[in-house]
């Protein structure tokens, strides 16, 4: 590959073993019970369900705990509790309701270290991320929404705001604690009550959050946590006692939930999958762009709905981008998630790893060129080295289907129009990234991208004040910000 700007005879940079970082394990120990049931009406209960699932540490494959698979009777109990708690909760003086949320936020901050370690054990993500991103953002989410509780009549001009009622919430395994915060905080700030089902493989931090609800004296029934599997989720989603259903997960399941609820008056918000594109123009700061791309697809092992999994690079800077990408990936450390220097942790489950490996084979079969940095992966656990494909064509399966792993597809373009067309050519529309130094172009492309979140010269930035959600088959409804309150309110 020749290039005007690169002398290919300059030797590559050497990022081999020299001044190796010694292990730096996070020392905090966390208590985990052998079994967990559900949290209903302010109490931890055994539950009616007869079956349990083993929740596993994906980095070591050891079982952390056995958790209830809640059955329809458990769901009935939970919905009944939420229904019973609703009148008092919604009539509470808004300023007083706010104080519960402030207390929850504070308590999360006080128990932050414990929560971060537990999240890493159950999910597989690096402790650096749970400590620096997941847990603090969850606390901020409660702080932000606490402040809205007494201000809801200002959310939409000329309209009085009232709660919707009992909200069913189903969350995924990629950001277990943060997704619980994203769902629960706005719902209860608006005077609703909640039945939340955490993901099958990651129930532990939601149950720990329930302890915090108890600590702050949240009235019983305001939030109920029912762990379980797909059957639990289906029962909850279909339950007629709920006025709202909020779901974050795969597009396939989202469509099923929409089908189940067709014709009833349940409010629905769905936050589904994505195949989000980055567009790097030749006038971008390439170091910043490469860093953003790496953060966009390898952060959280690529288990992010808005992961930037398709990369479009303007052709004249493609060689340089590839070189910087390779150099950057040499310094991405894969390994023990509890090591403070780990950048990329374990894949969440054996089945997700199988899915990713299926796509890697697919990509090779389609003729794309698989690239990986040689890394020593641990023997036990579910691991995938950061991977990118070069020579990808837009028609390739790996360029169209969501892989949900640390796998990037690299393509090129010549003109902005071409980049835009290719970026939009997908049934998904969750997020997109634009890298350019030219403001006018950024605003123009941002206006034309069919995506609910457009990051310009940055990626994967989240804030409680900033509405998040997708276009097209990435779902509908927004979370965060003023717009994120609307799904939880009746305006009249």
């Amino acid at each position: 590959m020749t290039s005007k700007t690169l002398n290919i005879e300059a030797p590559a940079l050497d990022f081999g073993e020299h001044w190796e970082y010694a292990p730096a394990p996070e020392g905090t120990k966390v208590e985990i019970a052998a079994r967990y049931g559900a949290f209903i009406n302010g109490e931890f209960v055994k539950g009616h369900g007869r079956k349990r699932l083993a929740t596993v540490n994906p980095a070591t494959e050891e079982t952390l705990s056995e958790v209830l698979i809640a059955n329809p009777k458990d769901i009935d109990d939970a919905v009944a509790a939420a229904r019973a708690a609703l009148p008092k909760w919604k009539r509470l003086k808004p300023q007083e309701r706010a104080k519960y949320l402030f207390r929850i936020a504070r308590r999360i901050q006080e128990r932050a270290r414990e929560l971060a370690v537990l999240e890493t054990l159950d999910n597989g993500k690096p402790i650096k991320e749970s400590r620096d991103v997941d847990i603090p953002e969850a606390a901020k989410h409660f702080f932000y929404h606490a402040g809205w509780a007494d201000k809801l009549d200002y959310v939409f001009p000329g309209r009085k705001a009232r709660p919707v009622g009992v909200c069913a919430q189903i969350i995924p395994w990629n950001f277990p604690f943060l997704m619980a915060a994203w769902k629960i905080a706005p719902a209860i700030a608006c005077g609703n009550t909640v039945v939340l089902k955490p993901a099958e493989t990651t129930p532990l931090t939601a149950l720990r959050l329930a302890e915090i609800f108890q600590e702050v004296g949240l009235p019983p029934g305001v939030v109920n946590i029912v762990p379980g599997d797909g059957t639990t989720g289906a029962a909850l989603a279909a339950h007629p006692g709920c006025q709202k259903l909020a779901f974050t997960g795969s597009t396939a399941v989202g469509k099923e939930l929409a089908r189940i609820n067709a014709g009833n008056s349940k409010r629905l918000t769905l936050e589904l999958g994505g195949k989000s594109p980055h567009i790097i123009f030749n006038d971008a700061s390439l170091d910043a762009a490469v860093e953003g791309v790496v953060q966009g697809i390898f952060f959280n092992q690529g288990h992010v709905c808005c992961a930037g999994s398709r990369l479009f690079v303007q052709e004249d800077v493609l060689p340089e981008v590839q070189q910087l990408l390779r150099a950057r990936l040499h310094n991405l450390r894969v390994g023990d998630p509890l090591d403070k220097n780990t950048d990329l942790g374990a894949i969440n489950s054996a089945s997700q790893l199988a899915t990713i490996q299926h796509y890697l084979k697919q990509g090779v079969a389609e003729g794309a060129s698989l690239q990986q940095i040689k890394t020593k992966l641990p023997k036990k656990g579910y691991w995938c080295a950061p991977t990118w494909f070069e020579g990808v064509q837009p028609a390739h399966v790996i360029a169209r289907e969501e892989i949900f792993g640390p796998v990037l597809s690299v393509m090129s373009f010549r003109t902005p129009e071409e980049a835009l067309t290719r970026a939009n050519n997908t049934p998904y529309g969750l997020a997109a990234g634009i890298w350019s130094d030219k403001g006018a172009r950024i605003f123009d492309i941002a206006a034309k991208l069919k995506a609910g979140v457009v990051w310009c010269n940055t990626y994967n930035r989240f804030d409680a004040t900033s509405p998040f959600g997708g276009y097209k088959q990435s779902g509908f409804g927004r979370e965060g910000g003023r717009h994120g309150l609307l799904p939880y309110l009746e305006l009249s």
């Binding site: 005007k4 700007t5 690169l6 002398n7 005879e9 300059a10 940079l13 050497d14 990022f15 081999g16 020299h18 001044w19 190796e20 970082y21 010694a22 292990p23 730096a24 650096k128 620096d132 006038d283 971008a284 700061s285 390439l286 170091d287 910043a288 860093e291 953003g292 340089e320 070189q323 150099a327 040499h330 310094n331 403070k340 220097n341 130094d437 010269n457 940055t458």
Partner: protein, 301 residues
């Protein structure tokens, strides 16, 4: 050579927000045990032990050189520092003190720190230092001309000074705290490299801000860009403002993860510091003894 390609690179925009964030991420690396001990020793070996005061005297310079040769006798296998850095007047004395130990003598020159004199005077300054035996020359970029857009003049001056250095290696001090923007620092970096600098250096240490991690990262990325375009290796020296050993270790992480192993030696990376050395020594003492050191456990120069 990569001359034309470097001119193209110097036009590439930089992103200050991204630089801040990337720089901050290096500070999350947790360096323990052997990694920490090795790193601290490397910091010592990379130190340009510096005294650049109006009040410098023969005793001050002798004392500095003694410290440079043996920073702390109580710590086993401690390397020497890379160099001592003094005003031209003290080069001969410093050379005498360090002898053939391998510690280099670096001299600031070209009317440090402001550089606000005629080119001829600067060249005389440099030649004098070289004649007295300086192994390295740290010159200052002409900031006034640079900020006025007289880039050719600035570049020509560096070439002339490089010439006058003969076999001494040349560091160009950009004085990043005066340049006003990350873009300007990137441009100055490429200008200096194209003009023949062996090292690019952040600051004189006489104004605030001196070296910071985002600015250093920017310069390391400029060096990388220059190298990948075939321009060869250039060294880097952050100077001033780094006082804590912990900070210095984060700088090393930044070098390692940006440029890789080839730059992790005193040949290609230096710390311009005075009080940093003592903090590093106290940390090494603690690693040896398990106890926090007192102020008096290391010598002041």
């Amino acid at each position: 050579m990569g001359m034309n390609s470097s001119k193209h690179e110097s036009g590439r925009p930089v992103d200050p927000v991204a630089l801040e964030q990337r720089a901050a991420s290096f500070c999350t690396r947790s360096l323990k045990k052997e990694t920490k001990a090795q790193g601290l020793r490397l910091v010592v070996a990379m130190t340009d032990l510096t005294t650049l005061e109006g009040s410098d005297s023969p005793e001050k310079v002798r004392s500095l050189c003694r410290k440079a040769l043996c920073p702390d006798p109580s710590i086993p296998n401690l390397p020497q520092v890379a160099a001592v850095c003094v005003y031209p007047k003290w080069v001969a004395l410093a050379k005498e003190c360090v002898g053939d130990s391998g510690v280099r003598v670096a001299s600031v020159a070209s009317a440090f720190p402001s550089g606000q004199v005629a080119l001829e005077t600067k060249l005389a300054d440099v030649r004098e230092a070289v004649a007295q035996g300086a192994d390295e020359i740290d010159m200052v970029l002409q900031r006034g001309a640079f900020l006025s857009g007289n880039f050719q003049e600035v570049e020509d001056e560096i070439r002339a000074i490089k010439d006058a250095c003969e076999s001494a290696h040349l560091k160009v001090i950009l004085e990043t705290g005066e340049l006003g923007s990350m873009d300007a620092i990137a441009k100055a970096s490429h200008l200096a490299m194209n003009a023949g600098a062996d090292f690019i250096k952040t600051s004189t240490g006489k104004i605030q801000p001196a070296a910071t991690m985002p600015v250093t990262l920017l310069m390391l990325e400029a060096i990388r860009s220059h190298y990948l375009a075939g321009g060869g290796m250039i060294g880097m020296k952050p100077a001033g403002g780094i006082r804590a050993a912990k900070e210095a270790l984060h700088y090393l992480v930044m070098v390692k993860e940006t440029l890789g192993n080839a730059w992790m030696t005193p040949e290609w990376f230096r710390f311009g510091a005075s009080s940093l050395l003592n903090d590093v020594l106290r940390q090494l003492q603690r690693l040896e003894s398990g106890r926090y050191a007192a102020q008096y456990d290391v010598t002041e120069t």
